[in-house]
């Protein structure tokens, strides 16, 4: 959509601003809408309200390690995944490998984080459509994961736990039992969530056939994560471009199949998240079993990290999709360039292409189904 089309006076069309303080926009996102009655004929997302120029910060810090807390604040509801990705990128630049025990703890943390993030996504998605109860169920469970994180790192949301070369400190002694406990109690809760929301008639009516994203459009936009898989594309970086120890673990990649509507609609994106939580539980169980009981959690990394000259692009599967870090080193302890390729940024950019012609009320469902976090969109 072009600038001029919004300015052309047309007595039938109305321009409406949704956000930046609208409760269902999942953060400070402003959508400039053009409406013909209740039909959306134009969408123009305005972002940048949370822009902190993370990349400039990263370049101004005199140590690669100091960037880690800033990565937490990109996607602030999945901070572990961000740290994990950044640490992997710098480790690749340094050409070091971390101890085996660290790999397992990192994967467990990342998968717990995925569940926590998907619970938030699913809960708020229901909330957008008027289902208040599932939201409370989701948050109760998410809280248990945050407790595990808090015991390990001391923080509930912004952990600063995974660092370059390992972990800040070893997990507490009851970490294994706590996590096992969570896995066994959480599994029946997914069934409860399905009864409450997934098969709910009203919920299906609000999400099936809405905001259909065809697979080729998703690939052309480089959509990733549940947004891409919801369109029936079986693509997951954990399996297709494996990092850490994911190639030693057994898990499935759920994809959208259009069970209640069209492939790639809002319901498909939703169900992919629900099914992924079960897969994450499987991964956690396997990792807990294989994890070495004892071991060092920090690789010997020099106090002042000076990577050799070079550049890397490392991508991982964060809860929202492909999170990439493009880092250029010029041999100094200061990163020359850090670019964060945020999945939400890319996924949000396809919003106009899937929401034209839908009803205004359905646009809320579409935005919710993309599951954006503005901290990551704006960086």
């Amino acid at each position: 959509m072009t600038e001029t089309s919004l300015k052309t006076p047309d007595s039938r069309k109305m321009v409406l601003n949704m956000g930046p303080q609208h409760p269902s926009t999942h953060g400070v996102l402003r959508l400039e809408l053009e409406l013909d009655g209740e039909i959306v004929t134009g969408v123009k997302p305005h972002i940048g309200y949370l822009h902190r120029c993370f990349e400039k910060y990263a370049e101004s810090l005199d140590d690669y390690s100091k960037v880690v807390p800033y990565t937490d604040r990109l996607d602030y509801v999945a901070a572990m995944s961000q740290e994990f990705s950044y640490a992997l990128a710098v480790e690749k630049l340094l050409e070091i490998e971390v101890p085996e025990r660290v790999e397992y703890i990192r994967v467990i943390m990342a998968e717990l984080q995925r569940i926590a993030s998907h619970l938030l996504a699913v809960g708020t998605f229901g909330l957008d459509l008027g289902a208040f109860t599932p939201f409370l169920y989701c948050f109760t469970e998410r809280e248990k994961i945050l407790d595990i994180f808090e015991k390990a790192s001391g923080a509930r949301l912004l952990y600063n736990y995974i660092c370059i070369g390992g972990l800040m400190k070893d997990v507490p002694s009851d970490f294994k039992s706590d996590t096992q406990n969570f896995v066994s109690t959480f599994r029946p809760k997914i069934k409860e969530l399905n009864d409450l929301l997934t098969t709910n008639r009203i919920f299906i009516n609000r999400t099936a056939h809405i905001g259909v994203l065809p697979a080729e459009v998703a690939i052309n936009y480089a959509a990733s994560g549940p947004v891409l898989r919801g369109s029936g594309v079986s693509w997951d970086i954990r399996r297709d471009d494996p990092y850490s120890i994911y190639d030693q673990l057994d898990f499935n990649i759920p994809i959208g199949q259009g069970e209640v509507g069209t492939v790639g609609d809002c319901w498909d994106r939703y169900i992919v998240r629900v099914l992924e939580m079960e897969e994450s539980l499987k991964i956690i169980e396997q990792a807990l079993e294989k994890m070495p009981e004892e071991g060092d959690v920090r690789e010997k990394v020099p106090k002042r990290i000076k990577p050799p000259e070079g550049e890397v692009y490392v991508r991982t599967e964060s809860p929202r999709g492909e999170l990439g870090f493009y880092i250029i080193s010029d041999k100094s302890p200061r990163p020359y360039r850090v670019k964060a390729r945020a999945p939400s940024f890319v996924n949000l950019s396809l919003l106009p292409s899937i929401s034209l012609g839908s009803m205004l009320g359905d646009l809320v469902a579409i935005v919710g189904s993309i599951d954006i976090v503005l901290g990551e969109v704006d960086r």
Binding site: H51, I219, N220, D240, E311, Y313, G324, K339, V346
Partner: protein
Amino acid sequence: MTKTEEIFEYLKWRFEDANLVYHPANSGQPWIIISAPFIREISHFLRDDMELRFDSLMCLSGVHYPSEEMLGVTYHIHSTRYGYNLVLKVAVNVNDPLVPSVESIWKTADWHEREAWDMLGIKFEGHPNLTRILCPDDWEGFPLRKDYVQQDTYLGLETK
């Protein structure tokens, strides 16, 4: 021979005028340097060629190289069909930073190019709506340039 080298040989033979240079890497992946005016043509070829099928642009990043007075753009592309990655680079003079837009080839480039314009002032020719995306429309300067000086006030408010 690495995958990038093979693709480089394949492209070199096809695009003789594009001054293709293969650059080996210390860590990470090697890259191919392309003369800026050819980037759209070559991207189009990379996407549509039956043996390559680079159908997705993972990341587009702008970089400032003040010592050479250059602005660079790095393209990380990926083929979902064959499952391999490729890194392309172009560089243009900082005083005349014109790079053809690849928005019509990979839609991801739409917002990424706007971001590179916003942050580094790289002009993407042929982009349908090259406006600032993260900073306000009337912001001064390009924050990610190494010689950037932040403006003192914005809308009458102190910025520092």
